[in-house]
């Protein structure tokens, strides 16, 4: 006891700072959580709120990363809506049951990624341009998707290719949108954007925007009357208490639908893991630390298996919120945990205020979040390199022209093709009669090597193959090398074996190894770190 009291003065400032950052994080997360669940996932607001409470808390406890923030996520919420809207009317009992099942399935699939190590490693193959392409595409998709909510129009109950629908939704907004709703949405949007220009209030912009929209809506209710404005509000948060237990449906009647949502569950699981792994990778690099991404997969998988029993949206890492926590000086994962607890208190005591938030204001928030996802600073580096630009554009367009599942599939295939393409095209240079290969010699790259090798033989006659910078040769490569050797047209040199060009010249074309090299111990080859990680 005395030890604790004596330690208090040391701990107290840190605790206070953590609590303050936690409060900011809670305030930033709350409107987003409500918006994600109601306008994107088609679920009651408490799903988003519980994700911001329990999702954040579970990931904070399970993930050892120094700065980590889980919680509700735009993309995952949108994936829930896209998967379930064709099956049942949103906000209904069936829909909620399917949503819980979907989240649990996603959690179990994520568990597979944890248990089967190579599957988890596959996630590391998703390169940055693919992730950024997906994120930008989804950002644009979110803007389109919230158009009808913005204008107080009924949401679309069937899902089609979003790009075709977007233009028509926009025209509908202009022609038949509820003008009161549009005014509320615009006030929220403009206020948030203007407040963001003031540096001191930047992090509070969304909350201030929602407050402005809600105030205008409350004024409209008082003067025009809700029966005339017909603005949808959050309302009825009476169900929100400390916990709200729930059960996913797996009964016999639901099974055909459960099977139908399996691709959606895979999408949901992958979208979550992509973001967690990518966000942890980026965060590690920005703050200069290292946490194994498997720990993140573990935290996500376990949390997402638990959350459907607590009426919550699934969780994954949010880079934006992590960056916010880091910039505000949050230093431990207890910052996120404290934000969860503060949010719980807020929800318990501010439910009446939350109930009058109008839906158009939330749609405006989704638009802002979507626009924030399209960040020119992230895109620019990808456009400098042609191959990266192609990958980026492909994954960006696949979100707009295919659905989310298609985009995830295209992204994964591109990622694997991208890394294979790199490996299959070793850097081959011919200088004099020395053909130097930097890269892999394996079945995939052999055709490229062979064509250059035979071209060189046709021109030069005899070729020295320098594979001192090869870091992997597979069995087929060895057989080819043996065959090339047997043809007597090529000689080999491998500087890693302390052999250099002069030795080859002195010993003649047939020599294989110069074993009397005085600099043997001075020139040590660099340790080959990439050998294992590249395959």
């Amino acid at each position: 006891m005395n030890a604790i009291i004596s330690a208090l003065p040391r701990i107290l400032p840190a605790v206070r700072r953590n609590l303050l950052v936690g409060l900011t994080l809670a305030v930033v997360t709350l409107p987003q959580a409500i918006a994600f669940s109601t306008t994107l996932a088609g679920l009651p607001p408490h799903f988003g709120i519980y994700a911001a409470i329990w999702g954040v808390l579970f990931t904070a406890i399970l993930n050892p990363a120094r700065v980590f923030s889980g919680g509700p996520n735009t993309t995952m919420s949108a994936a829930i809506g896209v998967t379930l809207l064709p099956l049942a009317p949103p906000f209904g009992a069936d829909y909620i049951g399917y949503a819980l099942t979907l989240i649990l399935l996603a959690g179990l699939i994520q568990m597979l990624f944890l248990l089967i190590r190579p599957l988890g490693r596959m996630l590391d193959l998703i390169s940055e341009p693919i992730i950024n392409g997906l994120i930008c595409g989804i950002g644009l998709f979110l803007i389109f998707k919230s158009l009808t909510g913005f204008a107080g129009l009924p949401i679309n109950t069937e899902v089609e290719w979003p790009l075709w629908i977007a233009w028509q939704s926009f025209q509908s907004v202009l022609e038949i949108g509820n003008l009161y709703a549009i005014e509320i949405g615009l006030i929220t949007l403009i206020t948030s954007l203007v407040v963001r220009q003031i540096d001191a209030l930047r992090n509070w912009a969304i909350l201030i925007g929602v407050a402005a929209g809600t105030s205008y809506s409350a004024w409209l209710n008082a003067t025009v009357g809700l029966q005339n404005t017909m603005i949808e509000q959050i309302a009825n948060l009476s169900s929100v208490g400390f916990v709200f237990p729930s059960l996913p449906v797996f009964n016999q009647e639901a099974l055909p639908d459960v099977i139908a949502i399996l691709p959606g569950a895979v999408t949901l699981a992958l979208l979550g893991l992509f973001q967690t792994v990518a966000a942890m990778r980026r965060m590690n690099r920005k703050i200069g630390g290292y946490t194994d991404s498997r720990k993140g997969i573990f935290a996500d998988a376990v949390s997402n298996c638990l959350l459907p029993f607590l009426s919550s949206l699934p969780t994954c890492a949010s880079f934006n919120r992590m960056w916010l926590v880091y910039n505000l000086g949050g230093q431990s994962r207890w910052t996120s945990a404290s934000s969860a607890l503060i949010l719980l208190l807020m929800v318990l005591f501010l439910a009446d205020l939350i109930a009058i938030i109008p839906m158009p204001a939330l749609a405006a928030i989704i638009m802002l979040v979507g626009a924030n996802m399209i960040n020119w600073e992230d895109i620019k580096p990808h456009l400098n390199n042609r191959r990266e630009a192609v990958v980026f554009m492909a994954s960006f367009l696949s979100v707009l022209f295919l659905d989310l599942f298609g985009a995830v599939v295209v992204g994964s295939v591109l990622a694997i093709a991208y890394s294979k393409w790199e490996q299959a095209h070793p850097d081959i240079s011919l200088r004099g009669n020395v053909l130097k290969i930097r890269g892999n010699i394996y079945y995939g790259s052999l055709p490229v090597i062979e064509s250059t090798y035979h071209g060189a033989i046709a021109r030069v006659g005899e070729v020295i193959l320098d594979f001192s910078e090869c870091y992997y040769i597979d069995q087929e490569g060895i057989r080819w090398l043996a065959a090339a050797k047997a043809e007597q047209k090529g000689a080999f040199v491998d500087r890693r074996r302390d052999q250099d060009r002069r030795t080859v010249e002195r010993a003649g074309m047939t020599s294989r190894r110069g074993d009397e090299n005085p600099r043997k111990n001075q020139r040590r080859r660099k340790p080959d770190r990439r050998r294992r990680s590249d395959f």
Binding site: P154, W161, Q168, L179, Q197, L402
Partner: protein
């Protein structure tokens, strides 16, 4: 200091772009409002139909149809001028969805062409008699797809989609599948006016909510209603050439004269999509029912059940647009087929014809 003007400029931009869009929206709303107030110019069929049913503004509505069929009047609440205009516009939309008879084109039909990729489709093609097909004695025909009977069945369980299907959603399906297009918003006048017209028909015909009437939907023909010889598209192709090709064209691509659709396409880009209930490959009872009850015009009922099923299965083998459920790959393939097959088929048929001598190479 340079940062401040830049920031001000940014704020001005943030305010002016949404503000400009808002003004544009207000302008468009006013345009719509004016169209709602404008007097409606009826198509000839609608003029006759609504005159028969004595639609006019007033405090009470009494249906002449009911008097004619039952000999008694029933008093219903009347229609305001606004209601009458909505019903008239709805009738126009059903009769001439694409606005080919309108002075101002599709704009008078609430921009219906925006929601339909097909340039042929019109509600009237499936819901004949402006959604209310009757024989000379005024008897509503079995399986004629009447809109009044559809309205009273709205919001009920739909066994094809497994939904409690609202009337607006059903209309959206028509736009998406039957005209291979997009769904209008549920709050769009395009759907509301057709709903108003259907409700008026229900009042005029005295059909009651929740009841099943014989003119509702198609009088479906399952395989069990035939002698079970099996459906054969070769027989179907023969029957099609005999009975249908004169109007719908040898490949079912429809007949258009001077920009007006006389007979709609049954295949190809202007036709209904894979997802439509009319597609035999999706639901094998609806199209045969439609053919047997409604085709050929003037000689309805002249085909037997098996013949109708054969023609329907033949039509399902022709290239047509993919539905949204099939995804982009199937859509691309169908697009290719719709481009390549008609000339190829024409060529192949010219080879097989006995009366035209083959040209030696």
């Amino acid at each position: 200091m340079a940062a401040l003007p830049a920031k001000l400029l940014k704020v001005a931009l943030i305010v002016s772009i949404p503000g400009g869009l808002y003004l544009l929206g207000v302008n468009k709303h006013a345009e719509r409002g004016a169209l709602r107030q404008a007097a409606v110019e009826l198509t000839p069929a609608c003029k006759a139909k609504l005159q028969d049913y004595a639609l006019r503004p007033g405090g009470q509505y009494r249906s002449p149809y009911l008097k004619k069929m039952t000999g008694s009047w029933s008093e219903l609440r009347g229609y305001s001028e606004e209601d009458v205009r909505a019903i008239q516009r709805g009738c126009n939309i059903v009769d001439d969805t694409q606005g080919q008879l309108a002075r101002d084109g599709a704009r008078e039909r609430w921009n219906s062409t925006r929601y339909s990729r097909s340039t042929h489709s019109s509600c009237e093609h499936c819901h004949q008699g402006v959604g209310d097909k009757q024989d000379a004695a005024g008897k509503r025909l079995v399986g004629s797809n009447g809109l009044a009977a559809s309205w009273v069945m709205a919001d009920m369980y739909d066994r094809f989609t497994g939904l409690l299907l609202p009337y607006e959603l059903r209309q959206m399906q028509c736009y998406i599948n039957s005209s291979n297009g997009f769904k209008p918003n549920a709050a769009d006048d395009l759907l509301r006016d057709v709903t108003a017209y259907s409700r008026f028909l229900a009042a005029a015909l005295d059909v009651k909510i929740g009841n099943r009437y014989p003119e509702q939907g198609m009088d479906e023909i399952p395989a069990s209603a035939t002698l079970r010889r099996g459906d054969d598209y070769v027989r179907g192709a023969y029957m099609y050439r005999e009975k249908c090709a004169t109007c719908h064209g040898p490949q079912g691509l429809g007949t258009v004269v001077q920009g007006r659709v006389l007979y709609p396409a049954l295949a190809g880009a202007e036709s209904f999509s894979f997802d439509s209930r009319m597609n035999f490959a999706r639901i094998d009872t609806v199209m045969p029912g439609f053919i047997c009850r409604n085709m050929p015009p003037g000689a309805e009922g002249s085909l037997d059940n098996q013949q109708c099923r054969d023609i329907a299965i033949y039509l399902s083998t022709l290239p047509r647009p993919a539905g949204d459920k099939q995804g982009p790959l199937v859509a691309a393939w169908q697009q290719l087929m719709m481009t390549v097959m008609p000339p190829l088929t024409r060529y192949a048929e010219s080879l097989g014809r006995n009366d035209t001598p083959r040209v030696p190479d």
